[in-house]
């Protein structure tokens, strides 16, 4: 593997994008988007995460094994969140006698 070296321009571009997204998420939080507020906030945060992971953490140039391990990690996080929330979200569905 020849080490891939990104240009300073790329990194500066990513930094500017990250700072602009931070300003955007702060500004948009004042707008009433009802239930979509949290969707927009997390959407922007996920975009920022991807920029940091792909460029600053060099996932773009990582080997397949590292990419697979990272995706596997996110899968486990997904299991943690989905199973926890599916429990709390459905507790009221079935009437429990005597409660």
């Amino acid at each position: 593997m020849t080490e891939h070296i990104d240009s300073v321009k790329t990194y500066v571009g990513i930094l500017i994008a990250l700072l602009m997204l931070t300003a955007l998420t702060t500004a948009v939080a004042r707008v009433n988007l009802e239930a979509f507020s949290v969707v927009v906030a997390l959407g922007i945060a996920t975009t920022k995460m991807l920029l940091v992971a792909l460029f600053f953490m060099h996932i773009r140039h990582s080997n397949q094994l590292t990419k697979l391990v990272v995706l596997g990690g996110l899968l486990w996080l997904g299991i943690l969140l989905v199973l926890t929330l599916s429990d709390f979200a459905t507790r009221g569905w079935i009437g429990v006698p005597g409660k």
Partner: protein, 233 residues
């Protein structure tokens, strides 16, 4: 890179150097192993923070209005500026790694010191914010705890928000403090001239850790500071 590191001594055994230790075939394999190892550690960290994010989601779902009012008591402008500071530190960190790739020792030191500076500013601002909470009586468990705009029976739910706030930002800050320690050590090592274009793995791997801590904050900021801001105080 490979030729340099796999120099063969006169008796036929490979010389063990920092850029190629005995158990690895090539420098590339050694570097990939380090990167993979760091990512595995970071995944345990994702799960560690993941538990807190799950707890946060459960309680925010249970008390959405209280969480919105409690969140609005935080200063989101300071939070946004601090996010910017941390992003800047990630930028200087990646520049330090780039300097490592190019073998520019002085630039590694310069960018590590800049990263330490921005990390320090972030922690300073965080300390200021925490102190503000003490003065406003927004510390969970305080007998004097009181959040304006909430009925007495909702104060407990607001304490829950602040418990999560302190646990999550505190754990994040602890990771920052550890990161500052690691980067200080690396700066000292870099001053001794250990790192070159063929060996800068510690800088690279510490960079992964630093960016990971940044990513955690990228999620903490909107989740703690920006809940339903439009409702106002």
């Amino acid at each position: 890179m490979a030729e340099h590191s796999s120099e063969v001594a006169s008796h036929g055994a490979r010389v063990e150097t920092l850029d190629l230790r005995e158990q690895f075939d090539t420098a590339e394999q050694q570097k990939d192993a380090s990167t993979l190892g760091m990512w595995l550690f970071l995944i345990t960290e994702i799960m560690f923070f993941g538990g807190m994010f799950a707890a946060y989601t459960v309680y925010r779902r249970a008390y959405p209005e209280v969480f919105a009012i409690a969140s609005s008591s935080l200063n989101e402008i300071i939070g946004a500026i601090n996010t910017g500071v941390l992003l800047l530190s990630s930028f200087t960190m990646v520049m330090a790694v780039r300097a490592g790739q190019l073998g520019q020792r002085n630039m590694i030191i310069l960018f590590l010191i800049l990263t330490l500076f921005f990390g320090g500013v972030f922690l300073g601002v965080k300390a200021y914010e925490w102190n503000e909470k003490f003065e406003e009586h927004h510390i969970p468990g305080q007998t004097a705890f009181h959040l304006e705009g909430l009925a007495p029976d909702q104060q407990g739910h607001a304490q829950l928000f602040f418990s999560l706030y302190f646990a999550m930002t505190g754990l994040h800050a602890l990771h920052m403090v550890i990161g500052v320690g690691i980067l200080s050590f690396l700066t000292w090592q870099a001053k001794k001239g250990i790192y070159s274009a063929s060996y800068f793995t510690p800088v690279d791997v510490a960079g992964l850790y630093w960016h990971f801590v940044d990513v955690i904050w990228i999620f903490l900021f909107p989740l703690l500071y920006l809940i339903d801001r439009h409702l106002g105080k």
